[in-house]
């Protein structure tokens, strides 16, 4: 039986939660941000339904606050020393390389163990060595040998999915690396097309303007001036965002579409990369144009489409899952990772 995922969050409802969260965060000088995060996550998880039941987020705010405090201290230390003594950069890079596997692993694990569906929690179990291979060794390889980027991407995806479990049953994904290469090839071609389009547009505008200028220079008419550097930067930024979203959506479709859950269940993801790209780009424009006030509506809009394109092909009535016994996890790794903007999801 196939169960589609559905997202029931509403823009105005989340807007009110968000704006109150931001105001309280500002008034408490950032301390409330941990509680704000928990409420936000609960709202999004709690409005995501699968087979008539919503997901749930269980993290405790004070744990997140602790992690955030540590992350802030590290961030300040890093920034100050990077500005004042660039020599220390090497030390920070080594420190990050050593801490990264631990950060990645605890961030993903914290999220998994604090997520439940129908009273059963998710879990994530990976060794430090596996995290080290996937996130340090393969990241370095991908950065130094560009053609291996899609290969490293597949290693990250395998690391993420294949160590997740639900009620003691493992998720597993498996697909040919050729398909990841194909997606990256599309992305590469799209970037080339984008650059060509921008150059062509700039050329067209400039020649049109020269023509207009020659033609109109005899009449008192304000010259049309365009801010080329800003226009080009905005076109590149938005175009790049579109391509990045496009590629990410195709990769997610590939990874999730090939994921199975022990017991004969399988997952599906069929979001249109064009549609997601459009939503993300227009969300960005609207958020900027409204000084950030569209942000909550943007998140709801994206979640509605994105979540609605996931599905589960279940082999049973899903009534026979039970949680593993789990130890309490610390949020510190997750929050440090979150603070430095290291996304490890799909």
């Amino acid at each position: 039986m196939t169960h589609a995922v559905a997202f029931h969050g509403k823009g105005t409802e989340y807007f009110r939660i968000w704006i109150v969260n931001v105001a309280l965060t500002v008034m408490t000088l950032g301390i409330y941000s941990a509680w704000a995060k928990v409420r936000t996550q609960r709202y999004f998880y709690g409005n995501t339904y699968l087979a008539g039941h919503s997901f749930e987020y269980h993290a405790k705010a004070w744990r997140i606050l602790l992690g955030r405090a540590i992350a802030l201290v590290l961030l300040v230390g890093y920034t100050v020393s990077a500005i004042l003594l660039p020599v220390t950069m090497g030390m920070w890079i080594l420190l990050l390389a050593a801490a990264l596997p631990w950060l990645v692993r605890s961030a993903i694990r914290f999220n998994a163990r604090n997520t439940s569906w129908r009273n059963v929690r998710f879990n994530f179990q990976a060794s430090f060595f596996e995290a080290f291979m996937a996130y340090v060794v393969w990241s370095v390889v991908a950065v130094s040998v560009f053609p291996l980027i899609p290969y490293a991407r597949r290693i990250h995806d395998y690391f993420y999915v294949n160590h997740h479990s639900f009620g003691g049953r493992k998720f597993a994904t498996d697909f040919s690396v050729g398909r990841t290469y194909l997606i990256y090839l599309y992305g590469f071609l799209a970037i080339v097309a984008l650059l060509v389009a921008i150059i062509a547009a700039a050329f067209a505008i400039i020649s049109a303007q020269t023509y207009l200028h020659d033609f109109l220079s005899h009449i008192p008419f304000p010259a049309i001036t365009l801010d080329y550097p800003v226009l080009t930067a905005v076109a590149l930024g938005l175009g790049g965002l579109f391509v990045a979203t496009f590629v990410a959506t195709m990769v997610t479709n590939l990874v999730i579409g090939n994921t199975t859950l022990e017991g004969g269940h399988s997952l599906a993801s069929n979001a249109s990369p064009w549609r997601v790209g459009w939503i993300v780009v227009s969300n960005t424009v609207l958020t900027l144009a409204t000084l950030g006030l569209f942000y909550p509506f943007a998140r709801i809009r994206l979640a509605r489409y994105r979540m609605g394109r996931y599905a589960l092909h279940a082999a049973s009535d899903l009534d026979d899952f039970t949680s593993e016994a789990l130890a309490q996890q610390s949020a510190i790794g997750q929050e440090i990772a979150g603070f430095f903007d290291l996304g490890f999801g799909l």
């Binding site: 939660i17 950032g30 409420r39 965002l241």
Partner: protein
């Protein structure tokens, strides 16, 4: 009596059930037929805080769970169990439109205050307290990097260097820091690099590139440039820029809380706009201070304007097409020149053109920010 679902301990298996508070503040859960599924003292039950219309969850100590979409019923049940109803205040706040509007006002006011007052003030505070030793190390490192990529040993004759240094010392004597506060350094600029230019480094070192010298037609022109750079040193503008650039993302991350969820562009673009606004206000301040120094020396600031225009002409003739942008570090040359020519008479009362930002760029002065 609250209708909901009872989940067996740590399992996805559930039955439709009802919950009520029994004798002695005990939570009793029974199925449709009335068979008791669980009976737990209220103290041992943990309930989730109310949030929008999400189902409410009661966690029992054995890992079982009761959940219900009936939020008011759940609140009543919690009270009957003698428990505090957590999250009720926040929930009320999130529902009341006046509170939402108040929050909006607070957020916008705080954002404005941070951008226009707090970040510049904090950067200035930090810049003033940065130890000279640190400023010196930074200068050495910046100069080393520049020497490697964009600059080389000067090719100016000893006579030219001596003359420039003499003019430099004259200006220094009339500047805020006095003669000991600044040091002039000559460098040859590699082709395609910084071009005819002068810039101030944090410890008072002022670098002049060789290609600037032949463009100077009158002594007071280069004296104006030195006075401008000395003002950058006096106000530690270089350090202020660095501090502002690191404070902005840190504060944004703290307030939004979720850096990873903010789309990259939405975070980057306001940062660039703010940086360019700070930088432009520094440049205007340096021009004004430079003009004041020239007047103290009995010279005319309009000479600086002449040199500015000549530099632009010489740079724009070459392979660089000269483009104007609102996001540049400096205000447009025509604007700076016009302002400097006004200053021949005396300090000008600020008459920035705030209503045509495409001409002046976005200036924080228009928003009430005054540099000091």
């Amino acid at each position: 009596m609250v209708e909901g679902r009872y989940f067996y301990p740590n399992a996805t298996h559930f039955v439709e059930a009802r919950a009520e508070a029994g004798e002695g503040r005990v939570l009793r859960i029974a199925d449709g037929a009335g068979a008791v599924l669980a009976e737990v003292p209220g103290k041992a039950v943990r309930a989730t805080a109310r949030l929008a219309s999400l189902p409410r969850r009661f966690d029992l100590p054995d890992g079982a769970r009761f959940d219900t979409p009936d939020n008011d019923g759940a609140d009543a049940l919690l009270r009957a169990l003698g428990k505090t109803v957590s999250g009720r205040i926040t929930d009320r706040l999130e529902r009341a439109w006046p509170v939402v509007i108040l929050s909006l006002v607070i957020t916008l006011a705080a954002g404005y205050y941070l951008l226009v007052q707090a970040i510049p003030a904090a950067s200035e505070w930090l810049a003033r307290r940065t130890p000279p030793a640190v400023a010196h190390i930074m200068t050495e490192q910046t100069l080393m990097a520049l020497d490697r990529f964009a600059l080389g040993p000067t090719k100016l004759s000893a006579a030219d260097q001596a003359r420039a240094t003499k003019l430099f010392q004259d200006v220094a004597a009339h500047s805020r820091g006095g003669q000991g506060a600044y040091r002039l350094v000559f460098r040859h600029d590699k082709p395609g690099g910084v071009g005819p230019n002068a810039f101030a480094l944090p410890d008072g070192t002022i670098v002049m590139t060789d290609s600037l010298w032949p463009l100077v037609k009158d002594d007071s022109e280069i004296e104006g440039v030195f006075a401008h750079e000395m003002s950058h040193v006096d106000h530690a503008h270089g350090l202020q820029r660095i501090y502002a650039a690191s404070l902005f993302p840190a504060i944004l991350a703290l307030v939004t809380g979720d850096v990873s969820n903010v789309s990259q562009m939405t975070a980057v673009l306001p940062g660039i706009i703010a940086q360019s606004a700070y930088s432009r206000s520094f440049e205007t301040q340096a021009d004004d201070d430079g003009a004041a120094t020239l007047r103290r020396m009995g010279l005319k600031p309009s000479h600086m304007a002449d040199l500015l225009e000549r530099i632009e002409k010489s740079v724009c003739k070459k392979d660089h097409p000269c483009v104007k942008s609102w996001l540049g570090d400096h205000p447009d040359t025509d604007l700076r020149a016009a302002r400097l020519r006004h200053e021949d008479i005396g300090p000008i009362d600020d008459h920035l053109n705030c209503w045509e930002p495409w001409k002046t760029g976005i200036s924080l002065r228009c928003l009430g920010f005054t540099a000091n």
